[in-house]
Symmetry: C2
Subunit: 763 residues, 2 copies
């Protein structure tokens, strides 16, 4: 045994012979400029802690006007900013709504400054200017040199603990600020309560409770310092009427506890030139945070923690070993894969306890609990990707959704949930898509019957956005519930998903009900104009109607031109309704080629102008399946040229490389799938649509040990058309590939060329 | 077995043959008028829930002025008020500072009114007028008829559950209001957060979090309705900036959850004419509240719960069976005993879990956890009384104090603590008195060594009110810490208590240290004027000095005339310092006979004018031992006449019968002890001072089954002087009786007469 071990130590590479150093191809700055809303900081795959610099703070309300475009700060960081306020421990990746930014810490020097200051006057606060040349980020490690306090900062994390290393340049008046009033959010009245205790000279415990996008959210923490704190003080910037303590004690000088709506703290380390800080979070309790701290961070070796984080990322990224023609493509691919694996995030203590939607403490029995379900986005490609590559993790996420359902007073699966809160963002009940996809693809990690019951109950919750009307009218009348067409179309798809579950479970009665409900999309189609169109409760179509506008036309984050194509479960029927293949193809072609009048750009949400190609909006999600719809016509080669066109156009290996919000990995998952040459047009179906891969070569390593090798021949930027495709030597007869074909493994060989092979995939 | 049981059922009286129906002698309205600050509602001995009517609500801030004298509402109820706002579940008894008033419920009829209205315009809100003739209160049961909604209300409780019975006079539009914005407190910004969920049509769960006198306090609840709620709605009267929900859902109509800073709710029962409500509280969690509800309240028989509560009170009151000359005296005595047994209150769930001072969840291991320790008051007589009559309960309270110490980041025993908070009210570290008293009297229910260590550590906490200066100067200099003389005197007494513990444990080194510290009182005495007097840090006495004023003179809740007598641990030395017995007696005499100039009444805190006799302030605590100080002179008969004079003067069997705050039972405990003829002048000493009892006959039933019978001969309002006293036939030679003599049991026989027997107690 000893001998064996020493061999491993001498040749550790042998153990991971096939592993490549893929973290070097991840650039966490991609998407940090403009609307990508990603963060550059440190985390581990699906980790609880996202320790990242915030370049601006909560908005200042001056004369009734918020002074910052807070939407830009959903992830706390904007690449163009010149200052860093501090390092907070929780961040969404790519969302279009803001929250989190908990527990901001910042090293400082000289006189203590309690306020962050402003970007134009950083010297008036604890914030600091910084230079991108002094800033580095790789998966699991972020570092920056802060100009003003002259501090070299390094950040890494474990699952539940953020680890800071501050190397000061001076040897006097070094201190660390903790600002519990800092947060990421649209409004400045987010804080509800804070509580802190200095347990001893190296340990602070407490919690911060907020009312943000997550309405009732508490983050408990335990903060451990590597050096004894020499002096400290708390400040309550929002004191309440009665303050018995503050009258009796000198509470701002080494008084070991404080509570209040707006707490800040300063910790002085005098002449210590290096301080490390470990910040453990818990969704449950201070005890939970202490347990997490002790379990995950027993030592003070920063480099070892950073190496562990990097190893975990390398392990994760190696699930797909892909090569490309250009380094830019490889970086874009692995950064996309990295972004795809950021969430949903772990939400439980090491002992399995977590806070439920009912605000009560639960213990995850037999699964790992996750949170941050941006389901309107992620059901499309991100969850299908997780279901394909990390099915156990995806099943745990489904179990987390089912726990949410059990805890829901509405008896509903999550819509958009985070940190024990349902924020009800967007529409649909797309949890059912994630569940159906996992069931249809035989993911064994959850109870199908329980999941089915939860899905059916969710789909009949009449109080939820227009469902009562949907059930009564078989479509959502616009006068009864806004964004009605989007709702009908998405409910119809979701109901088709429930029908797939019913089929899987052999529940014919339910199949019939939900197959019927799934046809509701037909109710919204106006054959006179060839578009989906809002209807009123009297059955009539909405009179004034602009098929290009995204506002007030019955749609959400999309116009009729895009959304009319949202029937992923039945493109054939859609094509029929639209007047047959010819007109359908014309509609698709026009989407990519038309010139959208200027006025419509201004109103398009969540994306930059370059997130739009013609009238095709890739920066928002409703059309993500649309490039693949040519596959259902006699011109599948247009899917191939289209996805190969979108890949480099919408994803670039630079900070402003994303044309829209990454949306918790959905944008990135689209890139990963499309690069590999297949995409789940209708999750809940076992089929993926085939397209022209951009990889030169790739190996997908599945959880069961099998692998699929993707080989392309004659790959180039021009050779975007599939000439032939074989799986294990057998030609594929349709432009699709099934889940079992993929996971069965073997070799998928694709020969490419500069012209379409129009005889391919013809019956 | 079956036979035996049926005998019990036929003659249940046999089991409690000796028990008397003593609840009939309790009038819970005593002290509810003016400054007594007691509440008339229902509770059980030391119960968690005090379900009582509130006759006014939190103060309204109008033009920067609070519109109510909020001090009057420390217990929520003022007898002279004409309206009831509703029934809330937590109340202090007799405090001089306000808090609690959690979870207000009020039956209503007709159109829903969300606000309470005002006393002058009750019709503008949900409050109602009521008549005292329709109001009844006995231990464990409160009832009232509400004029406006015409509802007969009955309230009772178990340990942790408040039970309401509402009999409506109409059979339509009957509903129940829940106002979570209601609270008892000095300021109107008390609410921090509320969370509620309608779990099903008969169950509401949630919590209310406040920042009041208890800075960080949360009450969790589960509310069960006996009839299904037909319709309900929540209203958030303090909405925050973002309200995603309130946009999407019709949240005020049968939407099953709400959260926010200021929640109210209305529950409609339509034509149901009788509704019962069970409100279970928990300090820990919603789960805890549900567990408490299930464990304590399995059925819906209101009368059975009320009978249980009454039985528990009767059992408790029967610990002393006493008779008096007048019914008024008996009512005053049993009401005093009732008030003495209201707190400290139970603070844990049925499974032993409770919230600690560290805001973390703990499990009480081997003890029952209590809260609400008003120690500056209760160490004097209330805890000694509990230690005598319910030593196990008192030991559990000490264990609760030790748990507080373990959880204290300051490493201090409680000062004035309630509901997992230390509010730091008043001065001293009088926990050590309670501990020393229990140790000296051999109460076996706690770990002496641990308690001693906690006491020593507490007494050396330099950050706490002037302790640093006290340790450095051997007195508290007034220029370094206000109310300095009171602090020195009380710290000296507390240190004497620690010396008694040291003696008990044989720790001579500590005995020497604390005996020396206990002499600090000498530092405050100015022999030139014969009074205790503030000193400055240069050693000089404060120049301008008014021995009658209670403000700015170095004292708290007392003037120099009263406080100069605060050396309960060593009256002999005090007498020496004051110039010998003659001058000491003159000082004592003057206290009771002098005429206090009018201007001093206005500034006397917490008490009514009739709480003062001469210059003796019985309505505040610092002089409670003073009437007994004659016992240390050659004129002990003056103690006898004095206490017999105070008893009827300061305690009357009517709503305004208390001359000052009952202070969590301290005022009442004085009455109980003094009526029985003995009093613990210096808790921590095994001796009680003897006085003339007012009982005609009494039996004290101790926990170990022994009993002491007190027999008086020639008892009358005039015969206040002891002629002779024997214990088990043996004359007592000193005007004192020891703890072991009392608890040893037997017969204490006292013959009384109209003139002092001046030969008695002379050596």
């Amino acid at each position: 045994m000893r001998k064996l071990l020493s061999i491993f130590l001498v040749f550790p590479g042998l153990l991971v012979a096939q592993k490549q150093a893929l973290t070097t191809f991840v650039n966490p700055f991609i998407g940090t400029q403009n609307a990508g809303h990603t963060y550059p900081g440190a985390t581990v795959p699906f980790g609880s802690v996202q320790l990242s610099p915030d370049t601006d703070t909560i908005p200042m309300l001056v004369n009734g006007q918020y002074q910052k475009d807070v939407y830009r700060y959903c992830a706390g960081y904007q690449y163009e900013d010149s200052t860093i306020v501090g390092f907070s421990h929780t961040h969404f990746s790519g969302t279009g709504h803001s929250d989190l930014g908990d527990i901001l810490i910042m090293p400082s020097n000289g006189a203590i400054q309690w306020n962050p200051g402003t970007e134009s006057h950083p010297e008036k606060g604890y914030r600091s200017t910084f230079q991108h040349v002094n800033e580095h980020a790789t998966p699991g490690l972020y570092s920056v040199f802060l100009d003003e306090p002259k501090v070299q900062v390094k950040l890494t994390t474990t699952d539940r603990v953020g680890i800071h290393k501050y190397q000061f340049s001076t040897s006097k008046d070094n201190h660390v600020m903790l600002d519990l009033t800092h947060g990421i959010y649209n409004y400045s009245d987010k804080n509800v309560w804070c509580f802190v205790r200095m347990e001893n000279d190296t340990l602070l415990t407490g919690y911060r409770q907020t009312n943000g996008w997550g309405r009732t959210r508490t983050v408990y923490f335990a903060i451990s310092f590597s050096k004894p704190v020499k002096n400290y003080g708390f400040k309550n910037v929002k004191p309440s009427s009665y303050n018995g303590f503050w009258r009796i004690f000198d509470v701002e000088n080494n008084f070991p506890e404080a509570a209040g709506e707006g707490l800040k703290a300063a910790f002085s380390f005098g002449n210590e030139s290096m301080v490390m800080i470990k910040v453990a979070l818990s969704p449950v309790s201070i005890d939970g945070a202490l347990l997490n701290l002790k379990s995950e961070c027993p030592h003070w070796n920063f480099d070892a923690y950073a190496k562990d984080a990097e190893s975990r990322w390398n392990e994760a990224l190696n699930m797909i070993q892909a090569d490309f023609i250009t380094p830019e493509e490889k970086t874009t691919f692995y950064t996309s894969l990295y972004h795809t694996l950021l969430g949903p995030t772990l939400y439980m203590d090491v002992d399995g306890q977590y806070k439920g939607l009912d605000q009560r403490i639960h213990r995850a029995d037999g699964f790992t609990n996750y949170t941050t379900f941006s389901l309107w986005d992620t059901y499309r490609a991100q969850h299908p990707f997780l279901n394909l590559m990390v099915p156990k993790t995806n099943a745990d996420m489904i179990q987390s959704m089912l726990a949410h359902y059990d805890q829901s007073v509405h008896h509903m699966l999550p819509v958009w949930s985070h940190y024990a809160n349902e924020n009800w963002c967007m529409i649909g009940y797309h949890s059912v898509s994630v569940i159906a996809d996992a069931m249809v693809k035989n993911n064994p990690g959850f109870d199908y019957k329980r999941a089915f019951e939860a899905s059916v109950t969710t789909s009949n919750q009449r109080q939820y956005q227009g469902i009562a009307a949907y059930l009564d009218y078989h479509y959502v009348p616009e006068n009864l519930s806004g964004n009605s067409v989007s709702k009908t179309l998405e409910y119809a798809y979701d109901d088709w998903c429930i029908a797939q579950m019913s089929n899987k479970l052999g529940l014919d009665t339910f199949s019939q009900i939900y197959v019927k409900r799934a046809q509701s999309f037909e109710q919204q189609f106006d054959p006179k104009i060839g578009f989906m169109r809002p209807r009123l409760s009297d059955g009539s179509f909405k009179k004034e109607f602009d098929v290009l506008s995204t506002h007030g036309q019955g749609f959400i984050e999309g116009n009729a031109w895009n959304y009319s194509l949202y029937v992923p479960q039945d493109p054939k029927r859609l094509m029929e309704m639209m007047g047959g293949e010819k007109r359908f193809i014309e509609h698709l072609d026009s989407l990519f080629t038309m010139s959208l009048p200027d006025k419509y750009f201004a109103e398009t949400e969540d994306i930059m102008r370059d997130g739009i190609i013609g009238n095709y909006v890739h920066g928002n999600e409703p059309s993500h399946h649309v490039p693949y719809l040519y596959n259902y016509t006699s011109q599948p080669w247009k899917t191939q040229s289209c996805t190969r066109m979108i890949l480099p156009k919408q994803y670039k290996a630079k900070p402003d490389g994303l044309g829209g919000n990454d949306d918790c990995g959905q944008m990135s998952a689209w890139y990963v799938f499309s690069s590999l040459g297949f995409y789940p047009v209708a999750p809940g179906s076992p089929n993926y649509a085939l397209t022209s891969p951009s990889v030169t070569h790739a190996i997908l390593h599945f959880a069961d040990g099998k692998q699929l090798e993707i080989k392309t021949k004659k790959q180039s930027a021009q050779n975007v058309y599939i000439q032939s495709v074989t799986l294990n030597g057998v030609p594929l007869e349709l432009p699709q590939i099934t889940h079992s074909q993929i996971t069965g493994g073997g070799i998928l060989e694709i020969t490419l060329g500069p012209k379409p092979n129009k005889t391919l995939f013809r019956p």
